[in-house]
């Protein structure tokens, strides 16, 4: 339960970090290390070089502006959660982070690291898709941006190319008519989700006028729930929820069986979570208070 030997490097600039990543095919980026170091303790991951980006200039930026929140690669989850400015601009972030691991892990774990790791049961990848976040990448070929919706390809598999890293993520400001939410089922508060759902609902006149809904912990990657997004249009407080339940259940068609739950259980949970969270979000927008 100790990591295999590796070389450690702590660069001060992104250029030095990228140059170092280019010297090894098994090099890994170390941000908070809250997934990577346990994986290395298990010897599931045995990089020959760790590039610790904790000291990279500019990676600690947390900027809140009219367009949204820009979160640098070394910014911890706790720091984002503690910021009232962030909570006022992108309320979904604080709501979602309550579900992410525990205090001790959020104190070191980063927003960008969780996104780069792409655990299929993690909250932040799904939230990034639901919020329409944009990822900023930098690698040997230069800089590029990728929509969160195009980033996650499978379990622990993303658009990141060899030698490329995430330098930051931008979450757009939540529109006035929209509520962002995240709800999940887990064995213990803070554990990874057995089934989870992140979403953003727009409402008009007490009913849903637009929706983005994303499942996580259900299949191999966070996934848009296209059926539920259609079924929820026009949903209002008096609706019995059966259409949303059925559509969400169908959206979970590729749910996986594992030691935690059967695929059928996950699909039923996804349906129930969809109805529960849409009702809660609608109630929030109706009276202007937080979920």
């Amino acid at each position: 339960m100790k990591p295999a030997p590796f070389d450690y490097y702590r660069p001060a600039t992104v250029e030095d970090a990228l140059a170092a990543l280019g010297t090894s095919e098994t090099a890994k980026v170390l941000a908070g290390g809250q997934s990577l170091i346990p994986a290395m303790n298990f010897r599931l991951s045995q990089p020959d070089l760790l590039v610790d980006i904790g000291g990279v200039e500019g990676f600690d930026r947390l900027e809140v502006g009219p367009s949204g929140v820009m979160i640098g690669a070394s910014v911890t989850q706790s720091r984002v959660m503690a910021s009232d400015e962030v909570a006022n601009t992108v309320p979904g972030l604080r709501r979602a982070l309550h579900h992410v691991a525990h205090l001790q892990i959020r104190n070191r774990g980063t927003i960008c690291g969780s996104i780069a790791h792409a655990d299929p049961a993690a909250e932040l990848p799904a939230l990034a898709i639901a919020c329409g976040a944009t990822l900023f990448l930098q690698g040997p070929a230069g800089e590029r941006t990728v929509d969160a919706g195009d980033f996650f390809l499978g379990p622990f598999w993303t658009e990141l190319g060899e030698g490329e890293l995430i330098t930051g993520v931008h979450f757009p400001s939540e529109p006035a008519d929209t509520v962002t939410f995240l709800d999940e089922l887990a064995w213990r508060s803070g554990d990874f989700a057995i089934t989870g759902l992140a979403g953003a609902l727009a409402t008009r006149g007490g009913s849903v006028s637009g929706a983005r809904m994303v499942s996580f912990g259900v299949s191999g990657a966070p996934r848009r729930m296209t059926g539920a997004e259609q079924a929820v249009l026009g949903f209002s407080a008096g609706d019995d929820g059966s259409a949303v339940y059925g559509a969400a259940y169908d959206d979970g068609a590729d749910a996986v069986d594992d030691v935690h739950a059967t695929a059928e259980y996950r699909r039923e949970a996804l349906g129930a979570l969809a109805v529960r969270s849409v009702r809660a979000a609608l109630a929030t927008n109706g009276n202007g208070t937080g979920v």
């Binding site: 339960m1 100790k2 990591p3 295999a4 030997p5 590796f6 070389d7 450690y8 490097y9 702590r10 660069p11 030095d16 140059a19 170092a20 280019g22 010297t23 090894s24 170390l30 290390g33 809250q34 170091i37 346990p38 303790n41 298990f42 020959d48 070089l49 760790l50 590039v51 610790d52 904790g54 706790s78 691991a101 525990h102 205090l103 001790q104 892990i105 104190n107 070191r108 213990r188 508060s189 803070g190």
Partner: protein, 163 residues
């Protein structure tokens, strides 16, 4: 052709541990938990699962409770670390330690240091409801007490009313 790997197998770690400045050259792969126990020689910090699940190894680094098994000693270079040995002064227990004793909030004691350091790191004003205390404690596992006596101990010190 790839360039030369700029990393190193060994790193110098300087830190303030419980008020004492220490500097050691250690393997890059050394976990902070093993640095504290085997290099600095403070064995009050316990190592349970070694993959960030149980919380027994919780210490305070620069004011924040963290899992020392999921942190490299190298990452703690330049930091200020507090362990359970920093709580009692000359054998006088802190109020929280005393409350753990009085409420029988431990049995085997393996998890206790982790609970105490988590509690030491936070502002009690942020935890005014029993549910908030329970949520705070969810990052530390105890296999003996069933948690009720731990929650009782915390609520007694922080003056949180339990139903």
């Amino acid at each position: 052709m790839m360039g030369t790997n700029p990393g190193s197998r060994e790193v110098d770690v300087s830190a303030t541990v419980n008020g004492t400045q220490v500097t050691h050259r250690v393997p890059a792969r050394l976990l902070l938990s093993d640095f504290i126990r085997d290099v600095v020689g403070l064995t009050g910090t316990h190592v349970g699962c070694e993959h960030g699940y149980c919380g027994a190894c919780t210490v305070i680094v620069d004011g924040d409770a963290i899992r020392s098994c999921s942190t490299l000693a190298a990452q703690a270079d330049g930091s200020t670390i507090r362990t359970v040995e920093d709580l009692a002064t000359d054998g006088d227990l802190t109020p929280m330690q005393q409350a753990f004793h009085e409420n029988h909030a431990m049995q085997c004691g393996f998890c206790t240091a982790g609970f105490l350091m988590t509690l030491e790191s936070v502002d009690p004003d942020d935890y005014r409801e029993p549910e908030q205390v329970v949520d705070l404690l969810s990052g530390n596992l105890c296999r003996c007490t069933g948690y009720q006596n731990i929650v009782n101990a915390v609520c007694s010190v922080w003056e949180v009313e339990r139903d």
